[in-house]
């Protein structure tokens, strides 16, 4: 029981009370008016980046980037508390991270305290080198100000990929300057600038080309459920060092995809695989397999089923795959390790297999457009069968051969081919490739509907089912099957259930059951009312509120297909039959209709999503669509004696 919600702000350091200036108070008032639900905001953020020459991995020439950031905050409310934090790691150093407050003379004075320094490993990663430094801040009164300053050192410009203009907090002004020296050729891509007002300028200062970007009155970056990645929506810069002269010679950066590939290959070649240790297992797994596809499947599925995901990503371990023999011995690895192991095993089996880099859908970039490391965050394998590339993702458990997880569809994959490479486009499947097909036959039994249900899952529907099912404790798996058969409806009692093709991911999975749908028939006098339509409850959380900023990410393209039949006694007839509904847009479609033949009513329904996102401009139509679906679902049928 909460004694007092004051406890919510406990644990914050009550620091020296800052004097307030008229300017701070004014800006606080302005920001509060613009962003009424915010408790604090930045009056001014400035970032400046300079470039210098240096040495990197294996003493190779690199460009280093030095950043300096100053951020001044004001409290928009009394008792505004927040942490101000900066991340760093082995490749991006952080120094001189200081906190300033205004003294009585209204000057900013450095506080004599150190930032709290903690590791900050990402979810799902066993170990990485990410750390965070932060100050817990408490500004007692509205208009009180705090300032922070820090320096960053990117030990290699390869890791200096993106700069956002928005932040998790409101900003009155945010200025970014890139001071590019004459010896350096840099490409700066502007992403999502068209939807925001950003001032740009290019000037010259002391022999440097200065690129300046400014944004004013910037709202905080939204954190919303089921949202597309921030890179799809918020303006940012992608900075790529193309080439430079280090005084002795010209050095190549990432001017093209070939340059990026060369760097990846350089790191990949540091992984010393020992194929001999894999040979016995490959021989065992491919015994009796005659075709290349059979061999590929045997090896692919074995890696999926037997290698657990445990990721060590510290330093260059985040870029160089673990050796195939280590991954096999440990029976664990990350995506790089699994892809490396699978690639080697396939090669041993005589297949044309290649290690492959790819960016998931969290990154909206293609290798053809962007030549820097922010384009990739995942590793898979590519094999060629009859000259055709087929991508295999061993991290994606239960993925079938030839099917691709949604998270990489529509992206480009960079395939290793020795000194050459290939960019492979990953196709986006049609909605019907990922299908949940439900067939049910019911009859009325008092207040209940009784009958049988059969659910067939293909594509990613099947994969997702197995990913969840296999991770449930065995003695609870039957409960999960019951849940599937009940469509999340607590009124469905599953009397028996059966799962077919559970071991064969190349076949659709089929779930059958005998069910009783209790409390479903409302009898009033001699009339009976019932519904045989099941609204996909999961869409409820995709209804946009007035305040929503970000597009929805449905995270799939798929098709739901229902064929439901209800048989009533021959002495009865159907009186009310819900009207049909058809809605079709470029991204989603619905077709539902009832047909009656004597004492049998049939509902055929198709709901498909061919585009995985709902843009903000589509919110109005999408909300209307959801209401239409709900109205269709809220229409019951009725029957009465003849």
């Amino acid at each position: 029981m909460k004694k007092c919600f004051l406890l919510l702000v406990s644990g914050m350091i009550l620091l020296q009370t800052s004097a307030q200036t008229e300017d701070d108070t004014y800006i606080a008032a302005v920001l509060k008016k613009q962003f009424p639900s915010e408790r604090y905001g930045a009056s001014l953020v400035t970032e400046e980046y300079k470039f210098e020459k240096g040495k990197g991995l294996d003493e190779k020439p690199v460009v280093r980037v030095l950043g300096n950031t100053q951020a001044t905050f004001v409290a928009l409310n009394d008792g505004a508390s927040f942490p101000y934090y900066q991340f760093y790691n082995q490749f991006v150093g952080l120094s001189n991270f200081n906190y300033y407050y205004r003294n009585r003379r209204e000057k900013f004075v450095k506080l004599n305290i150190k930032a709290i320094d903690k590791p900050m490993t990402e979810d799902g990663i066993f170990l990485d080198d990410n750390r965070v430094k932060y100050y817990p801040v408490m500004l007692r009164q509205a208009g009180e100000a705090a300032r922070f300053e820090f320096n960053e050192l990117y030990t290699d410009s390869k890791y200096f990929t993106r700069l956002y203009l928005h932040a998790p907090f409101a900003q009155k002004e945010h200025h970014v300057r890139l001071l590019v020296p004459a010896w350096l050729d840099v490409d700066i891509k502007e992403i999502n600038f068209e939807t925001f007002k950003i001032q740009k300028q290019q000037t010259t200062e002391n022999g440097h080309k200065v690129y300046s970007y400014s944004i004013r009155d910037a709202e905080p970056m939204a954190s919303e459920q089921h949202a597309v990645g921030l890179a799809y929506h918020y303006p940012h810069l992608i900075i790529t060092v193309k080439k430079w002269n280090d005084g002795a010679a010209d050095q190549q950066g990432f001017e093209s995809t070939a340059d990026l590939y060369k760097w990846y290959k350089y790191l990949y070649d540091k992984c010393k695989n020992d194929p001999n240790t894999l040979k016995p297992l490959v021989a065992q797994l491919t015994t009796g397999k005659t075709s290349a596809e059979e061999k590929a499947k045997a090896l692919y599925y074995w890696v999926q089923d037997n290698i657990r995901y445990i990721a060590f990503e510290e330093g260059y371990a985040g870029f160089i795959p673990a050796t195939a023999q280590d991954v096999l011995k440990n029976k664990y690895g990350d995506c790089k390790g699994m892809a490396n192991l699978l690639t080697e095993m396939l090669k041993i089996a005589g297949l044309d297999a290649h290690y492959t880099w790819v960016g998931t859908r969290a990154l909206p970039y293609s290798h053809k457009q962007v030549h820097t490391m922010c384009v990739d965050n995942h590793a898979i394998t590519c094999i060629y069968l009859a000259g055709k590339p087929i991508l295999l993702d061993p991290t994606e458990k239960f993925g079938a051969f030839g099917e691709y997880a949604h998270r990489i569809t529509g992206k480009t994959a960079l395939v290793e081919k020795g000194t050459a490479f290939e960019i492979v486009e990953i196709p986006v499947p049609a909605a019907m490739a990922n299908k949940m097909s439900t067939k049910a036959n019911f009859s009325i039994d008092g207040a209940h509907l009784k009958g049988s249900i059969k659910i067939t899952l293909t594509g990613e529907m099947r994969t997702n089912f197995f990913q969840v099912y296999s991770n449930i404790p065995s003695h609870r798996q039957k409960d999960y099957l019951k849940n599937m058969l009940s469509f999340g409806n607590s009124n469905i009692e599953v009397k028996s259930s059966n799962l077919l093709n559970a071991k064969n991911r190349d076949l659709p999975v089929v779930l059958e059951g005998e069910v009783v749908f209790t409390n479903q028939v409302t009898s009033i006098g001699k009339e009976q009312f019932a519904s045989i339509d099941y609204f996909p409850l999961s869409l409820r959380s995709y209804k946009p509120t007035d305040k929503r900023k970000l597009p929805f990410d449905l995270d799939q393209v798929c098709l739901y297909e229902d064929d439901i039949t209800l048989t009533i006694p021959p002495t009865m007839k159907f009186v009310d039959v819900p009207d049909a509904l058809q809605v079709e847009t470029a991204g989603y479609k619905f077709d539902g209709r009832y047909t009656v033949a004597n004492n049998v009513i049939n509902l055929k329904k198709q709901l498909s999503f061919s585009k995985p996102t709902i843009a903000t401009a589509e919110f109005s139509a999408w909300s209307k669509f959801l209401e239409q679906l709900k109205a269709f679902n809220n229409n019951l049928l009725s029957a009465a004696p003849k």
């Binding site: 490993t121 066993f126 657990r308 011995k329 440990n330 664990y332 296999s470 991770n471 404790p473 009312f529």
Partner: protein
Amino acid sequence: MRSLFIVLVATMVWQVAQGQSSEPFDKLRANVSQFLQQADAAFSNTQIPAEWQNQSAVIIAQKTTFSFDQRTSFRLLGAAKKSVIILEKERRKIKLLDQNAVTLFSELYYDGGDANNGFDGKVIKADGKVIPLELEKSVSIEGDDGVPGIFKSYTSTGDERFYKVPVNGLEIGDIIDYAYQVNNVAGTYGNFLEFTPIYYPCHRQYSVMKQQFEVKLDNNTYLNHRAVNGAPAFSERTEGGYNIYNWEDGNRPIIKQQVFLNSHMQLPMVKFQIVYSSREDARNLFILDRNELKRDLTPAELSKKAAGLLQAAQASASQAIPSVRYHLSKMEVMDANDDEYIKGCYYVLRHIFSVRRNELPGAVFASTMQQLMKMRRIDVQVGVTASRYTTSIKDIIFKSELEWFVKVKDKFIFPPNAMSNLTDIPPGMQGILAYMLPAGTGEATAITLPIVPYTDNVSNFSYQVSMSAANPDHLVVTSQHEHLRNNREGEIGKVMTYEIYQFDDWKTYGGWDDTEAMRPEQQDQLNADISKYRAEGRKLKPQFMETQLKEEFSDVVSYQRFQLTQDGRNPRKPALLYHEDFTLGDMVLHAGKSLLIKLPEFLTNQLQLTDEQRSRQFDADMRNLRTYNYTITFTVPAGYKVLGLEELNQQKENETGSFSSSAILANNVVTIKTTKVYKQLLVKKEDWPKVMEWVDAAYAFSQKKILLRKQ
């Protein structure tokens, strides 16, 4: 600027430099190697019973040992510090039968915070091959968030430094065999120490083939233990000058999920506590004589112990008395009638301790009330019992199991919490045996504590419902919620969130505003701060309550108002009463031109029993007797006729409980009334079908609809 969205939550990991010397890990291994290699038939097993093959994992064997050492460190100033060092070891051998278990055990955790701690393990493959753990790949963890409970020790002192290690070569069908050793130091400044009691249910997260405790103690240390509900007991032997206590148990399958299960009173369990004492100071211990461990304490013995604790609490109580009396005098109840005085004492104690500081320990509360009553020559008796959710009174062996109360003028008064009232009797104390301590040298009196009747534990829900003019598929609702006595306890945590009640608390009982003692500028600052937090609370509260409402209704279209009318903390107004206005979707269905309105669905969260829950292995503990009344009124829209109300009339009743409902139409308003009563506190498993009759009826009712036919 890098993107900055990672929320500062758990999963913080300190890094251990990779590739460092293996010396510390050799030490970790060495500290458990003997334990791991001990010959033990249970651990040599690799086969599991056929009936458990389809489970997630099976504990083949588990052994936990405790042994103790003492150390005295002398200090230049002050008394010598005596420390008790507990060496705890545990070995566990588990067969992993599915992916869930393999995932859970892919990372093992251990406490590496002390040089004498140990950890090691291995994977045993189906073909017998052994793969040792690679401790060198350990990574340290900040805090213990995210460390599964199965890896935490029983004797933790909060100083752990946890590490995690990935398990190599693990697959379904493998056995994992690991052991830890921890050294925990507990300091004592006196001559005794009672460690935190351990309650160990025999049924665990996984089925268990064999489990064992072994406690090795010297003559200054002993084991306070009891087996309940059919669990085996500890056996004792002497060996090499030590007392060895041994507990063995096995063949425990997983228990299926049950509603209304009182696990402490029904499931086999062993409880134990390690006690250190030098004999001369044994008087402070709950169990003074080791022979007492071998039998149930008689009422006289228990009350004598309680009396001793009450005596010991006197000093603390005496310290509390002056400020209580000061409040009472400010309230001018020192000379008021007995009832006002008793009430004043209770609420002042609630105010000073439960609201403003920390709740009074039970014995201190009892002693304080005893002294306060004696000052006014009001008859008072102190009583002790044990909560029904902890143990039965005959099985009390720990001081912490004693629950205290006083009886004044036929009222049973329990220690207050911030929300309680004078007449509250916690559900766990109702209907159970208690002992009233004798005044002087008399005998303790056994009594049965009263059960609050279901007519007192009442919740009244009222919903006024109409169709929205803006959208006829929406229902506009004005609701009122009233909760009394035990029913209030279940709701008050939610309702009081974001409420600042601490500073007005004195008003609820006619108390004295102690902020009067502050300087004017302090008062002004306090009032200003309170106003700010109240304003903040007014903004956050509706959002919070809307979130709570969404747990009950599938589509809350909008939430207009929350109003707390009274929190029930005032003895003159003991009901919790609040109002909400909101709009719901998903409550109106169509059938041609007719409408079906899901009015019965306002009986939210009705218990729906699964197939598994329809048969019981154990009696049902219904927690407390209670009544839920619903009144739902619905204005019939113009142009519609109501049908189907007769389907809503029903009555199901038997000695365990009842559900009744009625529906009428008058003046174009449908009024539905329902009453659900829990009549019996403890229901025998054979009578469970009787409970199902009215529970099923209530649930089925909540799924019904009324029909509006277009005229």
